[in-house]
Subunit: 345 residues, 2 copies
């Protein structure tokens, strides 16, 4: 009595189209998928395609998935959607997925407790065909090898040895741009709040910072660098540490991320040190926050949505086996000068 499932109304299936057009169900399937190996007279193609359109036929995803052993979905993991940098990347990726007929399944793994399990489960259930990760995690290596040995894993916005497929920013020029901007403003004592220098992004940004100093004949001072991290709190803590150590010893700061810069500025504000009058601050990567803070934050902006788009394109290529691996570097950093940088006092 109770209807099983929720599909009460007729769905337009291949079978239905077959009844209507008189062709065989498989013929229709092939026509609709533009199967090249099929030869059929053009007029009939026309007929079939037209009725399909008229009846609003759309292939059932589950059936197609079952048959082709594919899910047409890809997964993305990230620590938190609240990070606007990540949100921009995800938006780009999600757009491409939609356009290409894939679903993007997002898992934020704030709680690292169960991530292994969660991801493994997604893979095992055949729910995702590939995984994009927006941050490095040691465990990713395991998945890269699971599921018939070549489950595609893509590093997005980072890189580490052993990860064949990655879409990254060309970070060094951006870091150089930021640093040179400070030099151009007359600063010579420029501090750097970095990330973990053993890892790719932080190392690149640090390298860019050093290169800029070198190119401009500005002395590099080891003691003007401070390991921070990418979060707001990281920036605040590092700034505290730096100030306690070197109060008055620098007039500008290049922070490894937008949030790091925001944290640093927060501390400066609280300590009554004026930004940018006393100390200039610039961040790396741009988001709404930079515009909205006060003072607004000068940054180096990359096309992050493009990064996300490229990542998704790459992932789809991997999944469809049209490439064995995918590596792309996105350039095009632009300096965005706002209220947090000014000429050296």
């Amino acid at each position: 009595m109770v209807a099983e499932g929720r599909r009460v109304k007729k769905r337009v299936t291949l079978k239905f189209l077959a009844e209507r057009t008189g062709f065989d169900i498989s013929t229709i399937s092939r026509v609709l998928r533009d199967d090249a190996t099929l030869s059929i007279r053009p007029e009939n193609i026309e007929i079939i395609k037209r009725t399909a359109r008229e009846l609003n036929y759309v292939p059932d995803t589950a059936a197609r998935s079952l048959r082709s052993a594919r899910s047409y979905s890809i997964g993305a993991i990230l620590p938190s959607l609240q990070n606007q940098i990540h949100a921009q990347i995800v938006e780009g990726a999600s757009r491409v997925c939609r356009d290409r007929g894939y679903s993007l399944i997002i898992a934020h793994l704030a709680d690292p407790t169960d991530e292994q399990e969660v991801i493994a489960d997604l893979i095992a259930r055949n729910r995702i065909e590939g995984l994009m990760s927006l941050t490095f995690r040691e465990e990713l290596r395991r998945f890269a090898g699971s599921h018939d040995g070549d489950f595609p894993v893509m590093a997005v916005n980072w890189w580490a040895p052993g990860f064949e497929s990655a879409v990254t920013l060309d970070e060094r020029p951006g870091a150089r741009l930021a640093t040179e901007h400070l030099v151009d403003l007359g600063h010579t004592r420029i501090a750097h709040l970095s990330g973990d220098l053993n890892r790719f992004n932080a190392a690149e940004r640090f390298a860019g910072y050093r290169e800029a100093l070198m190119l401009r004949d500005v002395m590099f001072h080891e003691d003007l660098t401070q390991t921070a991290g990418y979060g707001y709190e990281d920036g605040a803590r590092a700034m505290e540490a730096l100030l306690d150590r070197k109060q008055g010893g620098f007039t500008a700061v290049f922070a490894v991320s937008m949030l790091t810069a925001a944290g640093a500025i927060g501390v400066l504000n609280r300590r009554g040190i004026r930004v940018p009058e006393d100390i200039s601050v610039i961040g790396f990567n741009d988001g709404m926050l930079a515009e909205v803070m006060s003072p607004s934050l000068s940054t180096v902006a990359y096309p992050l949505a493009d990064l996300g788009r490229a990542a998704a394109e790459g992932m789809i290529a991997l999944v469809e086996k049209s490439v064995p691996q995918y590596r792309l570097v996105i350039g095009g950093p632009r300096l965005i000068q706002r209220g947090s940088t000014a000429v050296c006092p």
Copy 2:
């Protein structure tokens, strides 16, 4: 020669379990789903469940979907992931979906061009079983009636007539809390930057504002209200307008959203009007931005992740037909006093 699909390695299927245990595939299916109508001796249940666990059996989503005409996914649409308020809600929802075995498919419809099409497509392909929308859109009404007449649509964080299922905040007490906070600080000329008063959220927040004034015997001045909107720019524009009209006529502002407040503060900062010394500002809903701006923003915080969780729970209930409609109001606003509010000068 080319492997069809990517499933080369054996997958653990019911059939495989059947071979291993000697039971029939259907028996196993029933045991694993705890089918009550099945009678089987307990020891055998044990055997079957154990081998399933050992071999790491997990049902194939596509097959199950095809058979049951369900996709075990639900959709969520929102204007942009970059809005931290929305991000918090989505995080809560995504968590629940994962735990309950559903996939959450997120579509941000920044470009309103194709939203109809996108959503219709998701539904037609049988990819989502229900839709949560984080903002009101007239078109939603169409979908609520599509797909055999009862495609579940849920309003999340808003409400409008005709939407049976909705999870909303109990907004009035929060708005009252914010306004009373300003009154407590001695303010009597309190402006309000509102949203579109024809719609639920803005109207509720406005009502809370008026209630608070009334309760505290503070005069309501029509000309201290200004329609703004929920974005940063909206707040900035409205603040400009208000200042141009009433410079000096108010000492505090209750803004309809966090971003609205941020925009307002931006303008005040630029005009050299000190926050909170000259004018206090408080927002509605809390996010990282509030903490990170300067001055940091006093707000009224709701458990937004809970809102998202409840929405997902409700959606799942709708989808599984365990309820015909779902309506929940989330309370518990807390005043978070930060740096943008101070005693009346």
